[in-house]
Symmetry: C2
Subunit: 128 residues, 2 copies
């Protein structure tokens, strides 16, 4: 099982992104979340393929299958974040934070910014 999202085809990636975002979903819910959604049976076929590839598993709820990523969200987000840093930020966390604040800074509460400051302070203390 490769957890490298760069190995995913276009639709596979759309579906994995959606599952990571919402955590778990029926085929119908997956379909609703897809851009240019194909038919219900097309979505199921894709989910079956993702399951065969080991990216997705399903649980039964009543008679419906609910699909969820095999890789936990925590792990997936670290991988994705590392890849983003490498691709767009020359592996610099500082640059990423600057970009983050450029996008979100105006909309963040002071309390939220304070909590972020404290995270950084904690990292400073651990660095010693």
């Amino acid at each position: 099982m490769s957890d490298d999202s760069r190995d995913l085809s276009r639709r596979e990636r759309q579906i994995m992104d959606l599952l990571f975002r919402v955590g778990r979903a029926t085929a119908a819910e997956v379909r609703e979340g897809l851009p240019d959604a194909p038919s219900y049976s097309a979505v199921r076929a894709l989910l079956r393929i993702l399951e065969q590839k080991g990216h997705v598993r399903h649980e039964e709820e009543g008679r419906a299958y609910v699909f969820l990523p095999v890789v936990r969200r925590d792990a997936a987000r670290q991988t994705a974040l590392s890849h983003l840093l490498k691709t767009f930020f020359d592996n610099s966390a500082e640059q990423a934070v600057a970009a983050l604040l450029a996008i979100k800074g105006e909309k963040m509460s002071e309390a939220e910014l304070d909590r972020m400051s404290r995270l950084i302070d904690a990292a400073k203390k651990e660095g010693r």
Copy 2:
């Protein structure tokens, strides 16, 4: 031209990521950077398609073409970062910073952490 990377096929995405990372590259350089690299002519064919789709353009250096993304890295990274926040962090910058520090915090210099603190302080001031 759609700048949504979720519309890209597997190879297209690998190539775009590489071009964003290094900025510009010849077909041979692109090929060297690809996982499970196909032949030189396969890479060129993919680059030609990416150019036709408007994601990539080329400049001539001597007789060689150098390829670069049409979208500037600044813009691409904001898009990618926004998508990452949405997919994996419930749109929370704070969560993203926490994950970032979890990955990179131990390896960051105190000076770097200070600069990050100052970015956050600046965002606080602008928020008023």
